[in-house]
Amino acid sequence: MESTQVAEARIRARDNALSLLNNITAYTAFAAVAGVGIFGTVSALTIPGVSASSSSGATASVATSGATVIAATSNSSDSSSSSSPSSGLSASSGSVSSSSSSAVAVSGGS
């Protein structure tokens, strides 16, 4: 009789342990899936160029200001020479974002 109770207690303890194992595994899997999202987001926020404190941000702002200069120069040339075709203007402003080296056009215009 007593041995039966001992056996039942051992079976119950084993079942509890297996339940604990399943819970830990499930929680770990859930945490791991969440971790992929969290770490992906953190890496996205800390990647150089995205953060405002990074040095690449300064480079990006320089490029943007350069593009602004080109666009402004194009507009001024447009206003100064009204007879010039507008197709040249549109081609110049369109290439601002793709190639910052179009600053050659700025020096040539001046």
Binding site: N16, A32, G35, S43
Partner: protein, 195 residues
Amino acid sequence: MSDIVLWYTTRGAGAVSMILLSAVVILGVLSTLRFQGSGWPRFLTPALHRNLALMTLVFLGLHIVTAVVDPFTHLGWLTAVVPFSSYYRTFWLGLGTISFELLAAIVATSLLRGVIGQAAWRAIHWLAYASWPVAVIHGFGTGTDALSGWFIVLSIVCVGSVVIAIAYRMVQPSPDLLTSARSEFRSAVSRKPDQ
């Protein structure tokens, strides 16, 4: 799915894989101590070790697949199989391939433990001590986030935990109560009769 999402998923899955792999190594080291307590029977540690190892393979698969199918990187499937075949950071990506293949061999032989035998399984299982540091070095060499503060902290925590677990294992006496008896028996068997 956009390549940006793939790229960030690759990095997130890599970080999670490093955490899981470190936990697997720690549980593997501690399972040799045969720890047990109230509500924590002895079989629970190796069972959790096995479950987390399989989970690590899943997230490593996610890490590799998202990196390969990312159209921006153009890594190709050969990179995932053949070490040092990538055009991009050849050495560091090769370390990742080696680490993954070592881990795959460890998991495969563990699942086939009854077929290959205890001695072969144990010999291959020692490769885990090579797979984990190679994976950590791969993360530092290849990882875009290697110099990020959060990744450095994460790596320090993982490496520190594994080192502490190994040191604890080495300091602790053998949990096998028959260790001395076995060694005496072996020495008695190997001793020559005239000695």
